[in-house]
Protein backbone atom coordinates (compact mmCIF):
# COMPACT_ATOMS: atom_id res chain seq x y z
CA UNK A 1 0.00 0.00 0.00
CA UNK A 2 1.18 3.52 -0.75
CA UNK A 3 -1.25 5.33 1.53
CA UNK A 4 -3.08 3.86 4.52
CA UNK A 5 -5.42 5.58 6.98
CA UNK A 6 -6.23 3.59 10.12
CA UNK A 7 -9.17 4.77 12.23
CA UNK A 8 -8.11 8.38 11.91
CA UNK A 9 -9.87 11.05 13.96
CA UNK A 10 -9.01 14.72 13.63
CA UNK A 11 -10.52 17.14 16.11
CA UNK A 12 -9.60 20.82 16.14
CA UNK A 13 -9.97 22.43 19.53
CA UNK A 14 -13.41 23.95 20.06
CA UNK A 15 -14.79 22.57 16.79
CA UNK A 16 -16.57 19.41 15.78
CA UNK A 17 -14.53 16.51 14.41
CA UNK A 18 -13.03 17.17 10.96
CA UNK A 19 -12.37 13.46 10.44
CA UNK A 20 -14.09 10.57 12.21
CA UNK A 21 -12.87 6.99 12.13
CA UNK A 22 -11.46 7.31 8.61
CA UNK A 23 -9.87 4.12 7.26
CA UNK A 24 -8.85 3.38 3.68
CA UNK A 25 -5.87 2.27 1.63
CA UNK A 26 -4.58 3.27 -1.78
CA UNK A 27 -2.50 0.88 -3.89
CA UNK A 28 0.54 1.80 -5.90
CA UNK A 29 -0.47 3.28 -9.26
CA UNK A 30 -4.14 3.77 -8.32
CA UNK A 31 -6.19 6.82 -9.35
CA UNK A 32 -8.65 7.73 -6.62
CA UNK A 33 -11.20 10.53 -6.38
CA UNK A 34 -12.04 11.95 -2.98
CA UNK A 35 -15.49 13.44 -3.39
CA UNK A 36 -17.91 15.21 -1.13
CA UNK A 37 -19.34 18.63 -0.37
CA UNK A 38 -17.30 21.53 0.97
CA UNK A 39 -16.25 20.93 4.58
CA UNK A 40 -16.56 17.15 4.26
CA UNK A 41 -12.88 16.68 5.17
CA UNK A 42 -11.28 16.16 1.73
CA UNK A 43 -8.55 18.76 2.22
CA UNK A 44 -7.93 17.52 5.78
CA UNK A 45 -7.24 14.04 4.41
CA UNK A 46 -4.77 15.40 1.86
CA UNK A 47 -3.01 17.47 4.55
CA UNK A 48 -2.64 14.29 6.63
CA UNK A 49 -0.98 12.55 3.67
CA UNK A 50 1.74 15.18 3.27
CA UNK A 51 1.74 15.47 7.07
CA UNK A 52 1.03 19.11 7.49
CA UNK A 53 -1.59 17.80 9.92
CA UNK A 54 -1.39 14.84 12.28
CA UNK A 55 -4.26 12.69 13.52
CA UNK A 56 -5.78 13.30 16.93
CA UNK A 57 -6.29 9.53 17.06
CA UNK A 58 -5.41 6.72 14.67
CA UNK A 59 -2.54 6.57 12.23
CA UNK A 60 -1.57 7.56 8.71
CA UNK A 61 1.08 5.61 6.82
CA UNK A 62 2.61 6.96 3.63
CA UNK A 63 5.28 4.79 2.06
CA UNK A 64 7.77 4.07 4.82
CA UNK A 65 6.69 7.02 6.94
CA UNK A 66 4.18 6.74 9.79
CA UNK A 67 2.44 9.71 11.37
CA UNK A 68 3.12 8.37 14.87
CA UNK A 69 6.86 8.12 14.44
CA UNK A 70 7.99 10.52 11.69
CA UNK A 71 10.59 13.03 12.85
CA UNK A 72 10.61 16.71 11.91
CA UNK A 73 13.76 16.32 9.82
CA UNK A 74 12.13 13.49 7.80
CA UNK A 75 9.19 15.65 6.63
CA UNK A 76 11.08 17.24 3.69
CA UNK A 77 11.94 13.76 2.38
CA UNK A 78 8.33 12.56 2.72
CA UNK A 79 7.17 15.67 0.84
CA UNK A 80 9.66 15.14 -1.97
CA UNK A 81 7.87 11.84 -2.64
CA UNK A 82 4.51 13.65 -2.86
CA UNK A 83 3.48 16.28 -5.40
CA UNK A 84 0.66 18.58 -4.36
CA UNK A 85 -1.59 20.70 -6.58
CA UNK A 86 -4.02 23.28 -5.17
CA UNK A 87 -7.11 25.08 -6.40
CA UNK A 88 -5.31 28.43 -6.00
CA UNK A 89 -2.15 27.08 -7.72
CA UNK A 90 0.20 28.54 -5.04
CA UNK A 91 2.79 29.68 -7.53
CA UNK A 92 5.34 32.31 -6.58
CA UNK A 93 4.33 35.41 -8.50
CA UNK A 94 7.86 36.85 -8.70
CA UNK A 95 9.21 33.79 -10.48
CA UNK A 96 8.73 32.65 -14.08
CA UNK A 97 7.00 29.36 -14.87
CA UNK A 98 10.45 27.82 -15.34
CA UNK A 99 11.71 29.05 -11.96
CA UNK A 100 8.55 27.97 -10.16
CA UNK A 101 9.13 24.43 -11.39
CA UNK A 102 12.89 24.66 -10.81
CA UNK A 103 12.24 25.66 -7.20
CA UNK A 104 11.02 22.16 -6.33
CA UNK A 105 14.20 20.67 -7.77
CA UNK A 106 16.48 23.25 -6.15
CA UNK A 107 14.79 22.61 -2.78
CA UNK A 108 15.72 18.95 -3.22
CA UNK A 109 19.33 19.95 -3.84
CA UNK A 110 19.29 19.49 -7.61
CA UNK A 111 20.88 21.99 -9.94
CA UNK A 112 22.85 22.49 -13.14
CA UNK A 113 22.19 21.11 -16.58
CA UNK A 114 20.25 18.05 -15.41
CA UNK A 115 17.87 20.24 -13.43
CA UNK A 116 17.27 22.61 -16.37
CA UNK A 117 16.71 19.66 -18.70
CA UNK A 118 14.17 18.13 -16.35
CA UNK A 119 12.30 21.44 -15.93
CA UNK A 120 12.12 21.88 -19.71
CA UNK A 121 10.92 18.31 -20.17
CA UNK A 122 8.21 18.58 -17.56
CA UNK A 123 7.02 21.95 -18.92
CA UNK A 124 6.91 20.35 -22.37
CA UNK A 125 4.84 17.45 -21.02
CA UNK A 126 2.21 19.88 -19.68
CA UNK A 127 2.25 21.84 -22.94
CA UNK A 128 3.93 25.01 -21.67
CA UNK A 129 7.33 25.00 -23.37
CA UNK A 130 6.69 28.26 -25.14
CA UNK A 131 5.44 29.98 -21.97
CA UNK A 132 8.26 28.94 -19.65
CA UNK A 133 9.68 32.44 -19.14
CA UNK A 134 6.32 34.03 -18.37
CA UNK A 135 5.34 34.95 -14.82
CA UNK A 136 2.17 33.44 -13.33
CA UNK A 137 0.18 36.70 -13.43
CA UNK A 138 0.56 36.73 -17.25
CA UNK A 139 -0.71 33.14 -17.58
CA UNK A 140 -4.33 31.98 -17.81
CA UNK A 141 -5.85 29.95 -14.97
CA UNK A 142 -5.43 26.72 -16.90
CA UNK A 143 -1.80 27.54 -17.68
CA UNK A 144 -1.10 28.40 -14.04
CA UNK A 145 -2.53 25.05 -12.97
CA UNK A 146 -0.35 23.32 -15.57
CA UNK A 147 2.71 25.04 -14.07
CA UNK A 148 1.58 23.91 -10.61
CA UNK A 149 1.20 20.34 -11.91
CA UNK A 150 4.61 20.54 -13.56
CA UNK A 151 6.10 21.69 -10.25
CA UNK A 152 4.32 18.85 -8.42
CA UNK A 153 5.64 16.13 -10.75
CA UNK A 154 9.10 17.59 -11.42
CA UNK A 155 10.67 15.44 -8.70
CA UNK A 156 8.92 12.35 -10.13
CA UNK A 157 6.94 11.77 -6.92
CA UNK A 158 5.38 8.43 -6.06
CA UNK A 159 2.12 10.16 -5.15
CA UNK A 160 0.32 13.12 -6.70
CA UNK A 161 -2.31 14.90 -4.61
CA UNK A 162 -4.66 17.45 -6.17
CA UNK A 163 -6.99 19.54 -4.03
CA UNK A 164 -9.89 20.87 -6.14
CA UNK A 165 -7.49 21.36 -9.04
CA UNK A 166 -10.21 22.65 -11.35
CA UNK A 167 -12.13 24.77 -8.87
CA UNK A 168 -11.05 28.03 -10.54
CA UNK A 169 -11.22 26.83 -14.14
CA UNK A 170 -13.85 26.77 -16.86
CA UNK A 171 -15.31 23.33 -17.78
CA UNK A 172 -13.21 22.83 -20.93
CA UNK A 173 -9.95 23.70 -19.19
CA UNK A 174 -11.02 21.57 -16.22
CA UNK A 175 -11.47 18.61 -18.57
CA UNK A 176 -7.96 19.11 -19.97
CA UNK A 177 -6.48 19.25 -16.45
CA UNK A 178 -8.23 15.98 -15.50
CA UNK A 179 -6.92 14.36 -18.69
CA UNK A 180 -3.42 15.57 -17.80
CA UNK A 181 -3.74 14.08 -14.30
CA UNK A 182 -4.93 10.80 -15.85
CA UNK A 183 -1.87 10.80 -18.16
CA UNK A 184 0.42 11.32 -15.19
CA UNK A 185 -1.31 8.42 -13.40
CA UNK A 186 -0.91 6.18 -16.45
CA UNK A 187 2.82 6.84 -16.29
CA UNK A 188 2.80 5.17 -12.85
CA UNK A 189 2.15 7.93 -10.31
CA UNK A 190 -0.41 7.10 -7.62
CA UNK A 191 -2.95 9.92 -7.86
CA UNK A 192 -5.50 11.19 -5.36
CA UNK A 193 -7.79 14.00 -6.44
CA UNK A 194 -10.13 15.80 -4.04
CA UNK A 195 -13.02 17.36 -5.94
CA UNK A 196 -16.68 18.14 -5.76
CA UNK A 197 -16.82 17.94 -9.57
CA UNK A 198 -18.47 14.52 -9.98
CA UNK A 199 -18.85 14.75 -13.76
CA UNK A 200 -15.14 14.43 -14.50
CA UNK A 201 -14.75 11.76 -11.86
CA UNK A 202 -17.53 9.78 -13.49
CA UNK A 203 -16.11 10.34 -16.97
CA UNK A 204 -12.74 8.90 -15.99
CA UNK A 205 -14.39 5.90 -14.29
CA UNK A 206 -12.00 5.67 -11.34
CA UNK A 207 -12.39 4.63 -7.71
CA UNK A 208 -14.26 7.15 -5.59
CA UNK A 209 -14.12 7.67 -1.84
CA UNK A 210 -17.07 9.77 -0.72
CA UNK A 211 -16.89 11.84 2.44
CA UNK A 212 -19.59 13.56 4.43
CA UNK A 213 -19.00 15.44 7.66
CA UNK A 214 -15.59 13.87 8.12
CA UNK A 215 -16.77 10.29 7.63
CA UNK A 216 -16.34 7.95 4.68
CA UNK A 217 -19.83 7.12 3.46
CA UNK A 218 -18.85 5.17 0.34
CA UNK A 219 -15.66 3.70 -1.09
CA UNK A 220 -14.94 1.83 -4.27
CA UNK A 221 -17.64 2.62 -6.79
CA UNK A 222 -17.15 4.67 -9.88
CA UNK A 223 -20.46 6.38 -9.26
CA UNK A 224 -21.06 8.90 -6.51
CA UNK A 225 -23.19 7.33 -3.80
CA UNK A 226 -26.24 9.01 -2.49
CA UNK A 227 -27.26 8.32 1.04
Amino acid sequence: MVVTFREVDKIYEGRKAALRDVSFSIDKGEFVFLVGPSGAGKTTILRHIYMEEFPTAGEVEVGRYRSVSIKGNELPYLRRSIGVVFQDFRLLKDLSAFDNVALALRAAGKGGYEMRKRVNNVLYSVGLSSRRHVRPDRLSGGEQQRVAIARAVALRPAILLADEPTGNLDPDTAGQIFDLLADINRAGTTTLVATHDYRHAERLGKRMIRLEEGKIVADGGTQPCTT
Binding site: Y12, Y50, E52, E53, F54, G72, N73, L75, P76, Y77, L78, R79, R80, V84, R90, L91, L92, L103, A104, A107, A108, R151, L155
Partner: protein, 271 residues
Protein backbone atom coordinates in the same frame (compact mmCIF):
# COMPACT_ATOMS: atom_id res chain seq x y z
CA UNK B 1 14.85 43.06 7.50
CA UNK B 2 14.26 46.75 7.48
CA UNK B 3 16.45 49.83 7.48
CA UNK B 4 15.11 50.57 10.98
CA UNK B 5 16.56 47.29 12.19
CA UNK B 6 20.00 48.13 10.81
CA UNK B 7 19.83 51.58 12.41
CA UNK B 8 18.90 50.16 15.81
CA UNK B 9 21.67 47.60 15.54
CA UNK B 10 24.14 50.30 14.51
CA UNK B 11 23.27 52.40 17.56
CA UNK B 12 23.53 49.40 19.86
CA UNK B 13 26.92 48.50 18.44
CA UNK B 14 27.97 52.14 18.58
CA UNK B 15 27.41 52.23 22.34
CA UNK B 16 29.46 49.06 22.78
CA UNK B 17 32.13 50.38 20.39
CA UNK B 18 32.50 53.62 22.34
CA UNK B 19 33.02 51.67 25.56
CA UNK B 20 35.60 49.42 23.90
CA UNK B 21 37.36 52.45 22.42
CA UNK B 22 37.51 54.14 25.84
CA UNK B 23 38.73 50.96 27.52
CA UNK B 24 41.43 50.46 24.90
CA UNK B 25 42.73 53.98 25.43
CA UNK B 26 42.66 53.74 29.21
CA UNK B 27 44.57 50.46 28.97
CA UNK B 28 47.13 52.19 26.77
CA UNK B 29 47.34 55.02 29.29
CA UNK B 30 47.82 52.50 32.07
CA UNK B 31 50.59 50.76 30.14
CA UNK B 32 52.28 54.12 29.57
CA UNK B 33 51.83 55.02 33.24
CA UNK B 34 53.42 51.74 34.32
CA UNK B 35 56.44 52.60 32.20
CA UNK B 36 56.70 55.90 34.04
CA UNK B 37 56.48 54.43 37.53
CA UNK B 38 59.50 55.60 39.48
CA UNK B 39 60.54 56.44 42.99
CA UNK B 40 62.34 59.71 43.66
CA UNK B 41 64.64 59.79 46.68
CA UNK B 42 65.52 63.35 47.77
CA UNK B 43 68.90 63.67 49.45
CA UNK B 44 69.73 65.58 52.61
CA UNK B 45 71.43 68.93 52.05
CA UNK B 46 75.19 68.89 52.09
CA UNK B 47 75.53 65.14 51.73
CA UNK B 48 79.09 64.01 51.04
CA UNK B 49 79.96 62.59 47.62
CA UNK B 50 81.10 59.33 49.20
CA UNK B 51 77.81 59.01 51.12
CA UNK B 52 75.90 59.79 47.95
CA UNK B 53 77.83 57.12 46.01
CA UNK B 54 77.26 54.48 48.64
CA UNK B 55 73.54 55.38 48.77
CA UNK B 56 73.35 54.95 44.97
CA UNK B 57 74.99 51.51 45.26
CA UNK B 58 72.62 50.54 48.06
CA UNK B 59 69.59 51.49 46.01
CA UNK B 60 70.93 49.78 42.89
CA UNK B 61 71.43 46.55 44.88
CA UNK B 62 67.70 46.23 45.63
CA UNK B 63 66.52 43.39 43.30
CA UNK B 64 63.43 45.19 41.91
CA UNK B 65 65.44 48.25 40.86
CA UNK B 66 66.32 48.67 37.20
CA UNK B 67 68.10 52.05 37.02
CA UNK B 68 69.23 54.71 39.44
CA UNK B 69 69.90 58.18 38.05
CA UNK B 70 71.43 61.06 39.98
CA UNK B 71 69.76 64.47 39.47
CA UNK B 72 71.85 67.37 40.73
CA UNK B 73 70.20 70.51 42.22
CA UNK B 74 71.26 72.43 39.08
CA UNK B 75 69.59 69.93 36.74
CA UNK B 76 66.47 69.96 38.92
CA UNK B 77 66.34 73.77 38.61
CA UNK B 78 66.81 73.60 34.83
CA UNK B 79 63.92 71.13 34.58
CA UNK B 80 61.76 73.37 36.70
CA UNK B 81 62.53 76.34 34.46
CA UNK B 82 61.64 74.25 31.41
CA UNK B 83 58.34 73.25 33.00
CA UNK B 84 57.61 76.91 33.80
CA UNK B 85 58.22 77.74 30.13
CA UNK B 86 57.75 81.41 29.31
CA UNK B 87 57.26 82.15 33.03
CA UNK B 88 60.69 80.73 33.85
CA UNK B 89 61.94 84.25 34.69
CA UNK B 90 59.89 84.04 37.92
CA UNK B 91 62.47 81.57 39.24
CA UNK B 92 65.19 84.21 38.72
CA UNK B 93 63.74 86.00 41.74
CA UNK B 94 64.87 83.10 43.94
CA UNK B 95 68.38 83.51 45.26
CA UNK B 96 70.55 80.43 45.05
CA UNK B 97 69.10 76.97 44.42
CA UNK B 98 66.72 75.65 47.06
CA UNK B 99 66.18 72.31 45.26
CA UNK B 100 67.73 69.16 46.72
CA UNK B 101 69.72 66.57 44.81
CA UNK B 102 67.83 63.34 44.15
CA UNK B 103 67.99 59.82 42.76
CA UNK B 104 65.35 58.81 40.19
CA UNK B 105 64.81 55.09 40.63
CA UNK B 106 63.00 53.02 37.99
CA UNK B 107 61.71 49.52 38.65
CA UNK B 108 62.03 46.45 36.47
CA UNK B 109 58.90 46.30 34.30
CA UNK B 110 57.37 43.28 36.04
CA UNK B 111 57.60 45.03 39.42
CA UNK B 112 55.87 48.28 38.47
CA UNK B 113 52.93 47.84 40.84
CA UNK B 114 51.64 49.79 43.76
CA UNK B 115 52.67 47.35 46.52
CA UNK B 116 56.22 46.92 45.21
CA UNK B 117 56.61 50.68 44.77
CA UNK B 118 55.43 51.29 48.34
CA UNK B 119 57.83 48.66 49.77
CA UNK B 120 60.74 50.07 47.80
CA UNK B 121 59.91 53.62 48.93
CA UNK B 122 59.77 52.52 52.55
CA UNK B 123 63.09 50.71 52.14
CA UNK B 124 64.84 53.70 50.51
CA UNK B 125 63.43 56.16 53.05
CA UNK B 126 65.25 54.18 55.80
CA UNK B 127 68.59 54.53 54.04
CA UNK B 128 71.07 57.07 55.44
CA UNK B 129 71.25 60.41 53.58
CA UNK B 130 67.66 60.22 52.32
CA UNK B 131 65.52 63.18 53.28
CA UNK B 132 62.26 62.18 51.64
CA UNK B 133 60.81 59.76 49.08
CA UNK B 134 58.00 60.35 46.63
CA UNK B 135 56.25 58.04 44.21
CA UNK B 136 53.17 58.21 41.99
CA UNK B 137 51.68 54.77 42.59
CA UNK B 138 48.52 56.09 44.19
CA UNK B 139 47.03 57.41 41.00
CA UNK B 140 48.18 54.30 39.13
CA UNK B 141 46.16 52.16 41.52
CA UNK B 142 43.17 54.39 40.84
CA UNK B 143 43.70 54.04 37.10
CA UNK B 144 43.97 50.25 37.47
CA UNK B 145 40.65 50.23 39.32
CA UNK B 146 39.08 52.39 36.62
CA UNK B 147 40.23 50.07 33.82
CA UNK B 148 38.94 47.03 35.75
CA UNK B 149 35.58 48.76 36.25
CA UNK B 150 35.45 49.66 32.56
CA UNK B 151 36.19 46.06 31.56
CA UNK B 152 33.19 45.00 33.65
CA UNK B 153 31.16 47.77 32.02
CA UNK B 154 32.24 46.49 28.58
CA UNK B 155 30.95 43.05 29.48
CA UNK B 156 27.67 44.46 30.83
CA UNK B 157 27.13 46.74 27.86
CA UNK B 158 28.04 43.88 25.50
CA UNK B 159 25.43 41.67 27.14
CA UNK B 160 22.72 44.34 26.99
CA UNK B 161 23.60 45.16 23.37
CA UNK B 162 23.54 41.45 22.46
CA UNK B 163 20.10 40.94 24.01
CA UNK B 164 18.74 44.16 22.46
CA UNK B 165 20.11 43.29 19.02
CA UNK B 166 18.87 39.69 19.12
CA UNK B 167 15.37 40.84 20.17
CA UNK B 168 15.27 43.64 17.55
CA UNK B 169 16.49 41.43 14.74
CA UNK B 170 14.23 38.55 15.69
CA UNK B 171 11.13 40.76 15.72
CA UNK B 172 12.01 42.32 12.37
CA UNK B 173 12.75 38.94 10.83
CA UNK B 174 9.41 37.69 12.17
CA UNK B 175 7.65 40.50 10.28
CA UNK B 176 9.55 39.58 7.11
CA UNK B 177 8.70 35.93 7.59
CA UNK B 178 5.04 36.79 8.06
CA UNK B 179 5.10 38.78 4.82
CA UNK B 180 6.70 35.85 3.03
CA UNK B 181 4.74 33.06 4.69
CA UNK B 182 3.26 31.93 1.36
CA UNK B 183 6.73 31.43 -0.10
CA UNK B 184 7.76 29.49 2.99
CA UNK B 185 4.61 27.35 2.76
CA UNK B 186 5.39 26.49 -0.86
CA UNK B 187 9.00 25.70 -0.02
CA UNK B 188 7.92 23.37 2.77
CA UNK B 189 5.40 21.77 0.47
CA UNK B 190 7.98 20.94 -2.19
CA UNK B 191 10.20 19.32 0.45
CA UNK B 192 12.70 22.07 1.22
CA UNK B 193 14.67 21.39 4.39
CA UNK B 194 14.55 23.92 7.22
CA UNK B 195 18.11 24.94 6.37
CA UNK B 196 17.20 25.58 2.71
CA UNK B 197 14.37 27.85 3.88
CA UNK B 198 16.41 29.52 6.62
CA UNK B 199 19.65 30.09 4.71
CA UNK B 200 18.57 33.22 2.77
CA UNK B 201 17.20 34.80 5.96
CA UNK B 202 20.36 33.98 7.90
CA UNK B 203 22.45 35.43 5.07
CA UNK B 204 20.29 38.55 5.09
CA UNK B 205 20.80 38.80 8.87
CA UNK B 206 24.56 38.45 8.42
CA UNK B 207 24.62 41.14 5.70
CA UNK B 208 22.68 43.52 7.94
CA UNK B 209 25.08 42.70 10.77
CA UNK B 210 28.02 43.57 8.51
CA UNK B 211 26.37 46.86 7.48
CA UNK B 212 25.69 47.77 11.14
CA UNK B 213 29.27 46.90 12.16
CA UNK B 214 30.74 48.96 9.31
CA UNK B 215 28.49 51.95 10.11
CA UNK B 216 29.25 51.78 13.85
CA UNK B 217 33.01 51.46 13.22
CA UNK B 218 32.81 54.36 10.75
CA UNK B 219 31.16 56.63 13.30
CA UNK B 220 33.66 55.61 16.00
CA UNK B 221 36.54 56.24 13.57
CA UNK B 222 35.24 59.74 12.78
CA UNK B 223 34.89 60.36 16.53
CA UNK B 224 38.45 59.11 17.04
CA UNK B 225 39.77 61.49 14.35
CA UNK B 226 37.99 64.42 16.02
CA UNK B 227 39.38 63.51 19.45
CA UNK B 228 42.85 62.93 17.96
CA UNK B 229 42.94 66.56 16.77
CA UNK B 230 43.03 67.61 20.43
CA UNK B 231 44.69 64.56 21.98
CA UNK B 232 47.14 63.14 19.44
CA UNK B 233 48.08 60.24 21.75
CA UNK B 234 44.62 58.71 21.50
CA UNK B 235 44.62 55.32 19.73
CA UNK B 236 41.95 53.64 17.59
CA UNK B 237 40.68 50.15 18.42
CA UNK B 238 43.29 47.45 17.75
CA UNK B 239 42.79 45.08 14.77
CA UNK B 240 42.03 42.26 17.22
CA UNK B 241 39.40 44.33 18.98
CA UNK B 242 37.85 45.31 15.63
CA UNK B 243 37.72 41.64 14.64
CA UNK B 244 35.99 40.67 17.92
CA UNK B 245 33.59 43.61 17.53
CA UNK B 246 32.73 42.59 13.94
CA UNK B 247 32.23 38.93 14.81
CA UNK B 248 30.06 39.96 17.77
CA UNK B 249 27.89 42.27 15.60
CA UNK B 250 27.40 39.70 12.85
CA UNK B 251 26.81 36.88 15.33
CA UNK B 252 24.02 38.69 17.18
CA UNK B 253 22.35 39.57 13.84
CA UNK B 254 22.47 35.94 12.68
CA UNK B 255 21.36 34.69 16.10
CA UNK B 256 18.42 37.12 16.05
CA UNK B 257 17.37 35.76 12.65
CA UNK B 258 17.81 32.16 13.76
CA UNK B 259 15.70 32.62 16.90
CA UNK B 260 12.74 33.86 14.83
CA UNK B 261 13.19 31.36 12.03
CA UNK B 262 13.31 28.44 14.42
CA UNK B 263 10.11 29.55 16.10
CA UNK B 264 8.35 30.37 12.83
CA UNK B 265 9.34 27.33 10.82
CA UNK B 266 8.86 24.66 13.45
CA UNK B 267 5.56 25.96 14.83
CA UNK B 268 2.39 24.01 14.01
CA UNK B 269 4.40 21.11 12.70
CA UNK B 270 2.28 18.81 14.85
CA UNK B 271 -1.14 19.92 15.97
Amino acid sequence: MSVACVIIMTFSLLILGIFLFATANLRELLRYAHEKVEVVAFLKDGIEQAASDSLESAIQSVPVVETVRYVSPDEALRRLKTEFGSKGYLLDAIEGNPLPASFEVTLKSRFRFKDVVENLSAQISQMPGVEDVSYGAGWIARLERLVRALAFADFGVGLVVAIAAVVTVSYTVRLTLFARREVIKVLKLVGATDFFIMAPFLLEGAIHGVVAVVLALGVIFIGYKVVALRVPQVAFMSPGMIAVFAVFGIAVAVLGSAVSLRAFITEKERS
